[in-house]
Symmetry: C2
Subunit: 329 residues, 2 copies
């Protein structure tokens, strides 16, 4: 193994262009979980897979597929970045349970059961009512367990999330959110949810999307690290990682797409508002992909041990990948 | 390695039901190349992949994926059958070169560039004019070479086939046809085509579809073996295999679909005729999947050496799989 630390950012939705792949190297990232779907149909999602296939072909010395934990170790050893694909919604599987394995064959490793709204599988966190996991949802979780496609409940509602944790026979993830007790945003997660998640072996990735942060864009590194320290006390360091939710270089039209998809004729501002409708400014200490190592420095300065810094910055996600990507060993 | 022979049938289009998988075991088949597309769109073809995914799940002790030559060796060693997927047309890639790699990721290993008619890539053997490989076709062959999806020209016209052999930087295949000099059917291949194919390292799989046989359903094993012996003299034993084109248990509506797809409002009888429109009766020595070993016995009785029988019955296709499935080593 290289002496360099092994870093994983378990959620980015950058407006990917080739120069960002060099920024991943500058950010010392051995793996990034990349969102390739918000509301896309199966066919549209295949085109998104295909876009990355072209980049794997064009940048073989920089990028590789992240299908297993060992792929991430190989990326770390060879100085590459492994790309792990995920969906923030279940739209790619449409109404067809067979598409779960097909998407896994194409490289998907995380799938949210719902994105803000009710889906065919579960309820999103912006609905007024949360009837829990649907009939299709129960079967989809079982199939996701079988093939090793991780259930992600980042944008789902509480009851659905608690039921998903209960129904799933393998640990699940909340790839990008923070504790509600630290910053009571609708997208942040209650103590009950995080406790149930982590008690079942699941992982939470801490988000640096300003709407999820105390003091938003002005949140300091020290505040962020204090949140992690409190979470480690409550849930154990082994359940914690980073899922920055970085939306670098995205135009504001993309946040409209994320919030409104094709479902709404009335502007939905999601976590924003009419006078703060676009992407919010990032905190100064995490503006770009390259800034990822700043978090390690912040955690060290805050007083985390080297071992705990390594766990939060990548080691925990790596263990989770080993155990949850692909069929159960 | 097991002492049992390693048999490969490099083309079947059976009306697959679970009992056929046991027949594969009875037929001692370590691998079968299975057609999963004639005219299907990408989305329809994905459903066909998905159908087999369900069977891989349901019959793990009998079936496995055939993605590499080593998969076939594992199937042989463990008494399973490896299924190799192929398309008899390029319809699954639609107009999108990116779908070549996507289909390869899903398990496709052979793709015909055209099926009887003109396609976006090449000309089929029933067209009056054959303008050769198209602009898209030239790029598609290059991409198929890159990912290791074998070009199959079984149903293509002569000029297109000769051009495909020339353009392709890796050997190609005619998975199921016989020599035109033995039986001058439109689907059988000229000496010029087979010579160019095999000189470039390509393989031909001999067909037992009655329309491709001298004396059709009455063709004897001895006649079939004599054809193979003459072909071995002309092209070398190492380029020859079996691609039976067995359409066991298919209703006649399926041969109509094969011939007419969605493109024709006038009945096209293809190799048949108005008074012989359905599937023809198989020769008595190859009626079902289980009869595959009869061919080995026939070749031995005809006078082929054990080594040559093993080569034609599976060894040659296995070598071809090693060299042509997946990126070039």
């Amino acid at each position: 193994m290289s002496d360099k630390p092994l870093y994983i950012d378990n959620l980015q939705y950058v407006n990917w262009q080739p120069h960002h792949f060099q920024e991943m190297a500058d950010g010392q990232l051995s793996a990034v979980h990349i969102t390739i779907c918000y509301h896309e149909s199966f066919r549209e999602t295949v085109t998104n897979f295909s876009t990355f296939n072209k980049w794997f072909e064009a940048y073989p010395d920089r990028l590789m597929r992240g299908l297993t934990g060992d792929d991430v170790r190989e990326a770390h050893r060879t100085g590459k970045t492994a790309l792990v694909f995920g969906f923030q919604n279940c739209s790619p599987i449409e109404d067809d349970i067979g598409l779960i394995e097909i998407c896994h064959q194409l490289g998907a490793r995380f799938m949210q059961l719902s994105y803000n709204n009710q889906s065919l599988l579960a309820t999103g966190c912006y609905e007024d009512e949360d009837p829990g996991i649907t009939r299709f949802g129960k079967q989809a979780i079982k199939e996701m367990n079988r093939v090793g496609l991780v259930v992600d409940m980042s944008h789902s509602a509480d009851r659905s999330t608690l039921e998903a944790i209960e129904i799933s026979e393998r640990p699940i993830a909340i790839t990008h959110a923070n504790p509600h007790w630290w910053h009571p945003a609708r997208r942040n997660k209650t103590d009950e949810v995080i406790k149930a998640l982590t008690d079942a072996g699941g992982m939470i990735g801490f988000s640096i999307y300003p709407h999820h942060l105390k003091d938003a864009s002005d949140c300091t590194m020290d505040q962020f690290c204090e949140m992690i320290a409190r979470a480690a006390d409550k849930y154990g360091i082994e359940s914690l990682g980073i899922g920055s939710d970085l939306c670098q270089d995205q135009p504001d039209s993309v946040v409209e797409w994320m919030r409104n998809g094709r479902w709404s004729k009335v502007m939905d501002y999601g976590e924003g508002s009419a006078d703060n409708a676009g992407f919010p400014a990032q905190p100064s200490w995490f503006e770009t992909i390259k800034d990822f190592p700043n978090i390690a420095n912040g955690l060290s300065s805050y007083g985390f041990s080297d071992k705990d810094v390594a766990a939060v910055m990548g080691g925990n996600w790596l263990r989770f990948y080993d155990e949850n990507f692909g069929p159960k060993l």
